[in-house]
Each structure stands twice: as C-alpha cells, then as structure tokens.
C-alpha cells in the first residue's frame, strides 16, 4: 500500500508527534524569560526534551540568578541518554563524524523506535529516521511556539504555568510502572515542594535527585522477591 517501509512510516509518525510538543516548549521558554534565539539554540544544541523543559523550568522559577541550577538540572536529566547510547552503540557500528551526529540524535524516541524493531536493518533505519524526523519537527515547532509565546503576554492568563507542570507530568507518567518508581516520584515531589521556601530556586529539584540516588543505591521500596 505504502511506498515506504513500515519502519520509515512509524519513525516519521513518532517524529511528527514528538515535534508537535516543541510548540509547548517554545511557548513556555519565551514566557520563562528566554528570547526566541535562546529558545531555538536550546532545541538545536541541547535537543533533549526533558533537559530543555528542566532548564526553562528552573529559569522560570528563579530568574537569571538560577542559571547555575538550571544547567545542573538539565545535565542530570540528560544522563539517561548516555544509557541509550550504550545500547545503540553495538547496533549502529559507526565511527568518526557519523558517531558525533548519532550521539546528538540519541534520545528517548530514536532509541525507543529502534529497539522495538526486529531486524538489524530496521533497527538502524528506525534510529536514524526517527532521530532526524524528531530533530526537524522539534526545531521547527520550537520556533513556532517561541514566536507565539512571545506574542501571548501574561503566561498565567493563558494557563501556561499549568501547561509547564502538565508537560513534566506527561514526561514522568510513562515511567511510573513500578512501585519503586512511584515511591521515588512521590518522595521527590514532596521534598522539592516543601524545601522551596527555604532554598534558592533550582536547589530543591537537585535535592530531590539525591532521593533517587539513595533509594537506588540502597535499593529500597523494591517489591520483595522481584528481579531475582
């Protein structure tokens, strides 16, 4: 029926769907105090939704004084991409400049589509087509959102503060499958909120990160007898 292989159709579909919420990123970034250029550079160079939303979220809460905390939050949220790279490396078998490009495209969606394929050929196609589709759609939609956000005025009037919270919840939701994940999420949520009045902006989020390290290292809240 289609001239395109199933993996290409799926990859472009995922790229488009993901790209669409670049609109919300662009709009939220400009209402957080970034200009259109700064917003666009984040999507081009950082190119990792979770880290980008974290960066602008901390800036929105703490203003220019919180840039250091914003950098650390974005960096810590990017750690999972390193693990995606570990799983993509033996599949892609690439070197030199292609490896530098592949690294930039190593995100949730490209890894997700790739690892859900059967053949090595489809795994590779899924990675590259999804990565490039997300890059193109995410960046063009970021620009659209940034221009729109710039024109909107008071972000609260449009509910954009709620939209930012909903965006984080949407990124979090699919990861809450196990009891330990739920426990860490609840604890981190609580710790970050109650320490906000006492700490500089951005620090409560990093403090919540320590919760994860403690729970992970001690392996608490794990259902007994599981994973053995």
């Amino acid at each position: 029926m289609s001239r395109f292989s199933p993996v290409a159709t799926m990859s472009v579909g995922v790229g488009f769907a993901t790209g669409l919420y670049g609109i919300s990123f662009g709009a939220l970034a400009t209402t957080a105090g970034l200009d259109v250029w700064q917003t666009q550079v984040l999507s081009l160079l950082m190119f990792s939704g979770g880290s980008q939303f974290a960066f602008i979220g901390v800036i929105a809460a703490g203003g220019p004084a919180a840039v250091g905390a914003a950098v650390i939050s974005a960096w810590l949220l990017g750690v999972r991409n390193g693990f995606y790279a570990v799983s993509m490396n033996p599949l892609l078998e690439i070197f030199g400049w292609k490896r530098l490009v592949a690294a930039q495209l190593t995100i949730d969606e490209s890894t997700g589509v790739s690892t859900s394929q059967e053949s090595l050929k489809d795994k590779r196609a899924g990675f590259w087509i999804t990565g490039m589709s997300v890059f193109i759609f995410w960046n063009s939609m970021t620009l659209l959102g940034a221009v729109l956000g710039d024109a909107l005025g008071d972000p609260k009037q449009w509910g954009l503060d709620a939209a930012a919270a909903a965006a984080f919840l949407g990124l979090l939701w699919p990861r809450l499958k196990e009891r330990q994940a739920l426990a860490v999420a609840a604890l981190a949520f609580f710790v970050a909120v109650v320490t906000t009045p006492a700490l500089p902006a951005g620090v409560p989020v990093m403090l919540a990160g320590i919760v994860a390290v403690v729970v992970g290292v001690l392996n608490i809240f794990e259902r007994k007898g599981k994973g053995e």
Binding site: A17, L20, I23, S48, V79, A166, V215
Partner: protein, 101 residues
C-alpha cells in the same frame, strides 16, 4: 553566569552524556545498579519539577488553578490522550478557572 553562557554549557553537558555512551567500554555503564540509579534519577527530577511547577510561585508554596488543571491532565494521561492535547487542555482548564473565579 549569563543566560547565554548557561545555555551553551548545559547543551555541551547534555551532549557529553550522549557521546560518553558511544566511547566508554560497555562494561563501565552496563552495571544494573548504575542503570537503576540513572533511571530513578530521571523519575525524581521530573517529579520534583512537576511539584515545583504545580505548587510553588517564586519561593512560596501556592495552591491555585494549577491544581485542578493537573488533575485534568492526570485523567487525560490515564486515558492515553496525546501529549500535546493533554498539555493544551491543562492550560485551557487553568485559564478558564482563572477567568471564572
């Protein structure tokens, strides 16, 4: 630190994770404990950001229209509504509540 400098440093920092996964020997990062901490770190940061964005303004804890908007978002997520629709409806809910009350 200026905002521009922060953007560049953060972008390089995020890219460095991506590249690291391609250059370090598999055995270094292929440790179940490290993988578990990394996955929980992602979850805790996203949950913390949700909380801060939902319940605080500046350095104050504040309960407002964002709470019902997030409840709506959670219901939509439970019904697997696409991300962009969920975010737009949550924004609309908060805007509407502020307009009415």
């Amino acid at each position: 630190m200026s905002l521009w400098l922060g953007i560049f440093i953060a972008s390089i920092a995020v890219y460095s994770w991506k590249l690291l996964g391609y250059v370090v020997p598999k055995t270094v990062l292929d440790n179940p404990k490290i993988a578990k901490v990394a996955s929980l770190l992602t979850i805790s940061l996203l949950a913390a950001l949700t909380g801060v964005q939902m319940l605080t303004s500046g350095s104050k804890i504040e309960f407002d229209a964002r709470i019902p908007a997030l409840l709506v978002a959670a219901v939509l997520l439970a019904f697997r509504v696409p991300f962009i629709v969920m975010v737009a409806v949550a924004a609309g809910a908060a805007a509407l509540i502020r307009l009415v009350f």
